[in-house]
Amino acid sequence: MKQPKKLSTFFLLIVLLTLIMAVLSLMLGKVTVSFKSVIEAFDSSIVNNEVNIVRARMPRTIFALLAGCSLSVSGALMQSITRNPIADPSILGVNTGAALFVIMGMSFSQVGRISSLVLAFVGGLLTMVCVYLISSFGYGGMTPIKLALAGAAMSIALQSIVNALMLKDRLLMDRFRFWQVGSLSKASWQDIMTVLPVIIVSLIIAYLLSSSLDIMALGDEMATSLGINVSFIYVLSTIVGVLLCASITALAGPIGFVGLMIPHFVRLLCGNAMKKVLLFSSLLGSAVLLSSDIIGRLVGGSAEIEVGIIMALLGAPVFIMIVRKVKKYGFT
């Protein structure tokens, strides 16, 4: 555990990092804009090319902040609920479930933004429940490995159904293959405004749940004897976790590894206290997602490399490194 002084330095560093990344995100891209224009953009009376570019990049930057925050908090919640340091919405197949429901909606009718959010949420929730149940089956109950295996199996099964729907309909295949890779470019101001209330409420609830989740880490029986309504907290945290992940997935497509890596790092640096983990995860998540997006835009040349791909390409090796170093699969 770090001393309070070191922790607040770390906090300031992260906030600074996030802000710098946000500004860079507004400045960099196909056209590099000066810092002055970034400031000017907030003054609605000034209109010129550079300022317009900054304004065009705003929704993307804000969405990156939001997405990084939601996904890492979602991951932290799921890791806490399942007492499993490698729980992540993409590993649990939640993303594929959300994708399946969205594509079913797409293939049967035109889906608007709100309906795709609802579809993603329902799909994600159902998948998560199924994966939980499957991994509790058999000797030993729900172990981290069985959860991972069940999630992988579920993901594969659902992915086949998605492929089947795509093969049937040329147009759908074309639309959907772009959706399947997480990208921040698809969200408009309207989209962001639609999910913003959901995300804010979820984040608040998550923060309020943090002390109960800390106690639940001691074990279900211990928590019950300390007065915690274990089932209620489980259900609420799961709903909030899936909501956060599904809102982002519905708009951006599946972005993996954020929920997995960020809370892991944060726990290594700040310890396991849920309040700190949630706070630092949300900030670090935003910073990392912003950087990945910037890298994707710069490296991609004329086309961007979508953030979902960058996260997988960078996140997977990091994940593998973590797995190699960790000897015991518990909260160390």
């Binding site: 199996a153 492929n163 997977a316």
Partner: protein
């Protein structure tokens, strides 16, 4: 004969009867595959084409349908056996050969070859096999950090597969929409573009693998007893494990290189055989039969049973999800153990 001996032979007889029955189903499916289609051929006609050089319908039967049916049989056997090996080795019904990334690795290479290198045919298969094996090797090497750990292997496999899937998605996005269909069809696992040469090479691989599995089967059963007991019973667990994994990977690599990854067959065959026989054994022969039945039946459904022609992997893939739900249902009935 004493009671134990009698029961032993009774069980063996039951096993043989079940396998015979499954083989009959396979024969029936193969016959349907040969005779049914836009033109329906009778049994005598097929017999004449195959053995007496009858020319009418020869193209359809020998070039279109026969390789399809043979490779469907062999691929089903290969995928089913490979899946069963991994499930019995890891003692987990949720395991699949792709944990070592062989299918995903082969898929990345194949999609790359199809979309970027604009290749097709045999060379795509070769590239797929080689790259698939390389990825598996990489995963195994990465998971060896101060000793071997099952868990670490599984997790690293998941991470690697995520990375490879991202690459596949990226390539699918970058491709022009004309080629995407091809790549997607390969990814679904298909019996569409197979020929007799493929069938021959796959037959050789399958026979070799079956012989090896038959030899190692007893050792594998003993290994189900835990980590130390097999060693004290004289089973060389380390060698056996490595050999079985290699056989499993070769089965998947070769079958995948010809048909693409046919989803779910490796995952489902072992458990289905187990449920039919309920004897807690490895059931290799039965699993091979179930695998073949799954592929052959799914191909028939995929060709004629749905609104348009689909690759076989689409149908098999769709069987995976209900099975998972069935697992949950069964678990609720029995109660969580």
């Amino acid at each position: 004969m004493d009671l134990h001996r009698r029961n032993y032979y009774k069980k063996k007889k039951k096993y043989l009867i079940v396998v015979m029955f499954l083989i009959m189903i396979i024969a029936a499916l193969m016959y349907i595959g040969l005779s049914y289609g836009k033109t329906i051929y009778s049994f005598s006609h097929i017999y004449n084409v195959l053995f007496h050089g009858e020319t009418e319908g020869a193209f359809v039967i020998t070039t279109l349908r026969l390789p399809r049916v043979i490779i469907g049989l062999l691929a089903g056997i290969c995928f089913g056996l490979a899946g069963n090996i991994f499930q019995k080795l890891l003692r987990n019904p949720l395991a699949s050969p792709d944990m070592l990334g062989i299918s995903t690795g082969a898929s990345v290479a194949a999609v790359f070859a199809i979309l970027i290198l604009q290749l097709s045919g045999l060379i795509v298969s070769l590239i797929a096999i080689i790259f698939g094996m390389l990825i598996s090797l990489l995963i195994v090497l990465l998971s060896y950090h101060h000793g071997y750990s099952n868990n670490r292997l599984i997790l690293i496999g998941i991470g690697m597969r995520a990375m490879l899937s991202a690459m596949i998605s990226w390539m699918l996005i970058r491709a022009s929409e004309y080629n995407v269909g091809n790549a997607l069809r390969w990814l679904s696992g298909s019996l569409n573009t197979v020929n007799m040469n493929d069938a021959f090479s796959l037959l050789i691989v399958t026979i070799i693998a079956c012989v090896l599995i038959a030899i190692m089967n007893n050792g594998l059963s003993v290994m189900g007893l835990g980590e130390e007991l097999p060693v004290s019973l004289g089973v060389n667990t380390k060698t056996l494990r490595i050999s079985l994994v290699i056989v499993g990977l070769m089965l998947v690599a070769f079958a995948t290189s010809i048909t693409g990854p046919i989803a779910s067959v490796s995952f489902l065959s072992g458990p289905i055989a187990g449920r039919i026989l309920r004897n807690g054994k490895n059931n290799m022969a039965a699993t091979a039969c179930i695998g073949a039945i799954l592929v052959l039946a799914s191909d028939l459904i995929a060709q004629y049973g749905l609104s348009s022609r689909y690759p076989v992997g689409v149908v098999t893939g769709m069987l995976g999800a209900p099975y998972l739900l069935y697992l949950i249902f069964m678990m609720n009935k029995k109660g969580v153990q």
